[in-house]
Symmetry: C3
Subunit: 206 residues, 3 copies
């Protein structure tokens, strides 16, 4: 029988892999050495969940309790260093995987907060932090303006995923259904935004 | 009868509002979208207190226990997105409110550390961190050189506020009096620095 | 009788002093005021250990329990502000002291994690974080691209130091011997890299 937790775990690992690859790609654009690849890849992959654990008082943080996350991020980012001429088409592929990771981290991050008895608003924010903070730290480390804060429907998609999941959970929906809906809405919104070039309007000074 | 705790609470909220607005104004200068406004506004409003709680081992952090802070920061920063042509005169007004927030966060941050039995030096540093770290994170997120570290008497005013409060508390002064003096010195120093363009001398290479 | 813990403590303090000076030197290059010197110096000196403590769930963090670290960082960075024309030759000297601090922080950071029962991989990562994160935060605060992520054999030296220490410890070597070997390998690798201008190859796009 299909076990949803296994699906979740599989998607969770997919998300970490996607985020680690996105960190490594930024490192390649900055022409860093292999250490830079590993640091950026790992920070992007586990950064959001680390901040979530710290804020919720879950310490030591998840990868101290479960070092496999650390090992996988390290191996993947290091391997990326040896990929010659990372092409734009591959970058597009990563963005699509990344959309799933984003939505899943938003849902699982929110769920961890709910399980701990947090207020729904806090749970939604924890989902957003888990999904997007890795990318923010990546951009700060790489000394580039955080992409998620200026251009794309990214934090918004995380917000939608976490919001749908938390709302359905509070309305009494089964956990699996609420997670699936949150995942679909978040990944779908992000995918549509990428496919059709949607972006939120930016503030204009005049 | 006037309850000083109510005054403190009122000023605390004023400080959060001022800091949230300052984050939103930086977002407007960077022409971010509404998500950027909310992230920068919230980070600036609650960032300093969050770091303080983590360092002191007070977890989960304050806004996880009391989500109203989060909601207020979000609503205010989102509302700022719809303010057309944020003028310089309004920016000046914010700086004045901000001076009060700075002093108050310095005092309340130091007090929380003292209540937990921290060393006076630690208490002063916690006051400075609570008052200034939100602005530092804001500038790092916005990819601009942290203003507080280069130009203005800002961290210095927080230091004065926390230092006066901690010194008077250790000397046996009533808590309310010590807080009022710290607040007056910190806000006054910052206001005078703004009014007369004071700044600390910068290091010269030759 | 010579007590190794005293040697460790002495080198630990040397490391903190070296890192505080390196933060102050970056502040001098950015022509900051004295507050900038103190903030950058202190952040560089205690930043790595602070993050390590937070991730391992050791709270409050070490300098809250032992404020002497804070006082020493503050006094040294403030004193650096009054050093006229910080010359390049002095900067070289700092880099050599810094190599010792790097190796020692890598070893002591890893040891703290091992003592708490962490997985060896986690212990090595904690060593690297303790040794290098102060410098990363320093560069982010100073709005310059993190040096450790792009050019020098720095994180690599920390990795070697922590890796040798953890491997020897797991192999049953006495703690003092394992620490001495880790220290020698880390500081030696960093010193050789500086002396001969070694750097890791960087990713090339074509």
């Amino acid at each position: 029988m299909m076990n949803f937790n296994t699906v979740t775990a599989a998607l969770d690992w997919m998300g970490i892999v996607a985020f680690a690859i996105s960190g490594a790609i930024v490192a390649s654009r900055k022409q860093m050495d292999i250490v830079g690849f590993v640091v950026l890849g790992t920070v992007t992959g586990i950064g959001g969940g680390t901040l979530r654990d710290l804020l919720l008082g879950q310490s030591p943080v998840f990868w101290v309790r479960e070092p496999a996350y650390l090992v996988v991020c390290t191996v993947i980012s290091a391997a990326m260093f040896f990929v010659p001429r990372i092409p734009e088409s591959r970058y597009r592929l990563v963005l699509w995987i990344d959309a799933i990771g984003l939505a899943l981290f938003a849902v699982t991050g929110a769920e961890r907060a709910l399980v701990l008895g947090s207020h729904p608003v806090v749970a939604i924010v924890m989902g957003v932090i888990t999904a997007s903070f890795g990318g923010i730290i990546r951009d700060v480390f790489a000394n580039q303006s955080p992409v998620v804060l200026s251009y794309e429907i990214y934090v918004m998609a995380a917000l939608a995923a976490a919001g749908v999941f938390v709302s359905l959970s509070l309305a009494g929906a089964p956990r699996d259904l609420a997670m699936a809906c949150g995942l679909a809405v978040g990944a779908g919104l992000r995918a549509l935004a990428m496919r059709f070039g949607w972006s939120l309007p930016r503030y204009t000074k005049n």
